[in-house]
């Protein structure tokens, strides 16, 4: 990381931390460094309540409180579907209540406690890297 971007990300982290109360959304790519490690911003926000905007992905499990938030909508358009590279930036959301599916093309927000690190969900048998716990979500 060069000096400038370090200063920038530190400043951003400070800013975002202070703006958490104001529900300033955190963008999904900003949680990672280019080498896919967690960014300083992500590390500074771990354990805190954050808001992330995105789209609901088609659910992996029915009738649970779990879903995946993606930066761009999981394409429902037949033209983009085959060519679109599946983004690596996804966020596992564990909602407080059972999932109410919203159309996958609606922009939504999710607010919850940010959790970092590999976690194996034994109920679903899935490994996730980043999660929002106790989350609420709704149309952005």
């Amino acid at each position: 990381m060069n000096r400038r971007s370090f200063v920038m990300s530190t400043a951003m982290a400070t800013l975002t931390v202070s703006a958490v109360g104001a529900r300033e959304p955190v963008s999904m790519p900003s949680l990672y460094n280019p080498d896919r490690s967690f960014s300083d911003l992500a590390l500074s926000l771990a354990g805190r309540s954050v808001r992330v905007d995105g789209f609901m992905a088609p659910p992996l499990k029915a009738d649970t409180n779990f879903f995946v938030l993606t930066e761009i909508p999981m394409a429902v358009c037949p033209l983009c579907e085959t060519s679109a590279q599946w983004p690596e930036d996804i966020l596992a959301i564990y909602a407080r209540r059972k999932l109410r599916v919203v159309p996958y093309s609606w922009p939504i927000y999710a607010t919850g406690r940010l959790e970092l690190g590999d976690y194996m969900d034994t109920d679903f048998g899935f490994l996730s890297r980043v999660r929002l716990i106790d989350a609420k979500y709704g149309r952005a």
Binding site: P59, L60, A62, D63, T64, V68, W86, V101, S128
Partner: protein, 398 residues
Amino acid sequence: MNPFPIAWAFARANGGTSVLFLLLIAIATALGIAITSQERALREGSARAADPFDIVIAAPGSQTDLLMNVVYLRPSAVPLVPPEISLRILSEPRARLVAPLAFGDNYQGLPIVGTIAPLLEHMADGIPLEGRMFESDVEAVLGSAVPHPIGHQIAVAHGLGAINEGSHGSITAVGRMPPTGTAWDRAILVPIEFSWLAHNLTTGHPPGSDQIGPPWDPASLPGVPAFVVVADSLIAAYGLRQQYRTAETTAFFPAEVLVELYALLGDVRSLMGLLSLATQALVVAAILTGVMALMQLYRTRLAVLRALGATRVYVIAVMWCYVMGLIACGALLGLGLGIGVARTISARLAAEAGIPISPTIGGAELLLLGGLLILGAVMALIPAWLLFRRPAVTWLRG
């Protein structure tokens, strides 16, 4: 103070009215409870039935048809995934498990599913089989709900008639799966090599080989109706879903189709919700009118209590205990009745759908019951309040 003997005497004084009032509350409560618990049981049951099948990959076609085929074992004709693509799917590095499936055969109405042992182990989820896993293409494992013993000889039928009289006409049950809560509990599970062979296809292994399961021989692999894939991470799951949505294959999460079906059923559900709301309103109205009628019946008796030296608080307590007793007994009776109704409906639905559907009493029902009791507790104060709008002596004359 002790309002109970008087309240009990009041209840007996108008026994018929009291019982009618109680039954009205019970029936309305039962309706609400049956509807909410039934609806949830249906959702939970269908979701549980889809649970072991993370991703389904098949030849392009209706995802709902595929879901019915794979998850609920309601066979319909599906095109095969060609061998060269099947091979690519079977060697997918991001998957923890790729299981080819073949379905469409049955034995006395029980579906026969051809697959590989690791999928059954995945479905058993760590619980050991009774007996053992199939080890050759003339052996089968029974679903937990199949009404045949281990050791049973199974003559396979395809569609309308028996097939392949001769070498592969009959297989032997060697094991039984633990209950999985899926439609597969009613299925007979065989090595997929058996299904291929039964349809005069190659077996994925060189001719004359007795091997079952992977690794597969690229030259001998036939087409495959569908695959169940278990991914090793969230990203892999979404990646695989995306990667196999191509011109040759379709890939989907059974859950996403189920969720769509739930949404399709949403109209029915909201109708049910409306119905349940209407019954709640009915209960409220029933309690209110009942309470008004009761107040007319009891006002002289209550005024006499006041004349004999009872405080307002005591008279309120008598009326409250009485009305609350009716509501509480009605609500409890309704809870039992509701569970009974939901169980009966569920048993019939489960037999139809072939998946276990078991209604339970959950938060929603307790909330409903609690809400009713709280509402009742407040409304039980109304008759006493109405009574005290006029002096007690009004009711003592004449």
